[in-house]
Amino acid sequence: MDFVPGGELSRRIRAGDVSAEGELIRQFEPGLRVLLRRRTGGDHALLQDLVQDTLLVVIQRLRGAGIDDPQKLAAFAAQTARNLAIASLRKAERQRTDIDSDLTDRNPDPAQGVEERAADLEAALAVRALLRELPQPRDRLMLKRFYLDDHDKDFICKEMDLSEAAFNQALSRARRRFRQILEERGFSKRDLLSLGL
């Protein structure tokens, strides 16, 4: 994907160029997901809502008054996302009521968290496919040490008697293949569709 500078995007959107709005969405959506994931505590539905709300706010602003420094469009979008996440938290705080937690535990809402579970399942399936493909048991162990046990690279290399180059190569290969598996499963398309494009 070609990166379009914020100044140019701002100018074109202000001029009514609909394709520029599409480019802005494609350009900012991955970063907004990263930013908002940390602030939504694993609530996939809320994450999607906030990504859409942020993009709508940014596009409406560019269509109308515009922003002071169009070159800082990314910073503006990031701050908008943070503000919306904070507002969402405040709203949730206001709406929170005392509940009978025992009763809630006994009667979980099956519809709640379906998307999260689907996302978890999708990731788990992709990981299983990846693990099946890894030629060396050592590579599986390395992934576990790195991602689950949070051991740093030096520690893992020493523990497993690996060179840094071998570690980097195995990790890079696993990342690439995992991404490929997820993309084959339509991961990217689904995320764009959820934005209503």
């Binding site: 991955p30 990263v34 990031a78 990981v127 693990l131 992934l143």
Partner: protein
């Protein structure tokens, strides 16, 4: 990561969608690994405990060897060869049967029970290897070859000795066929019976 660093990182992600995608795939990978690690699948058992797999493999091999050892040593009768070469004086004990080609003989030697030392009497070349084959002879049936020894040396120009485990033989008529190896000379057949 400080607040300012975190915000700079987030803005970098917005300005670099490909980097942001990679970050998200990393998050997914971590999430997926956690899911798999929590589940009942064996992916991490294989990878996490290579030593256990080695131990299991070693145990399987040990079990196999134990079974083989028992088969050979736990059941002596079954472990002994049916037909064996004589080696040393240790095998002097037990019964003996002498086999010779006697013109006009109307009876066959009788094989006793247990481990029997068989002396085959004839004219042998001590510098030649002989093969000795034990056959079961059944009326109106093809000869049933039970065992063959190769590379046998006569103990003297008159005697070639072998051991037969009689307990492994059922009641029948048998033949020991002695042949010079690497020769087209006719074989000599020595019959005996086991009751």
């Amino acid at each position: 990561m400080s607040q300012a660093e975190a915000e700079a990182f987030e803005e970098y992600c917005l300005a670099n969608p490909e980097f942001a995608k990679q970050v998200e795939f990393e998050q997914r990978l971590k999430l997926g690994l956690a899911q798999v690690a929590r589940g009942p699948t064996a992916e991490f058992v294989r990878s996490n405990q290579p030593v256990r797999w080695k131990i299991a493999a070693a145990a399987a091999v040990l079990l196999g060897l134990s079974a083989a050892f028992y088969a050979f040593h736990g059941n002596p009768a079954g472990s002994r060869p049916l037909l064996a070469a004589v080696s040393g004086d240790a095998q002097q004990a037990g019964s003996t049967m002498r086999l010779a080609l006697v013109r006009g003989a109307e009876t066959s030697p009788v094989l006793q029970g247990g481990l029997v030392r068989v002396e085959i009497v004839g004219l042998f070349d001590t510098g030649i290897h002989y093969s000795v084959t034990l056959d079961r002879l059944q009326p109106k049936k093809a000869i049933d070859t039970l065992a063959t020894l190769y590379g046998q040396h006569p103990s003297s120009p008159m005697t070639l000795e072998v051991l037969i485990d009689s307990d492994q033989l059922e009641a029948a008529t048998y033949s020991l066929r002695v042949r010079k190896q690497s020769s087209d000379e006719e074989a000599l057949d020595f019959n005996f019976v086991k009751y």
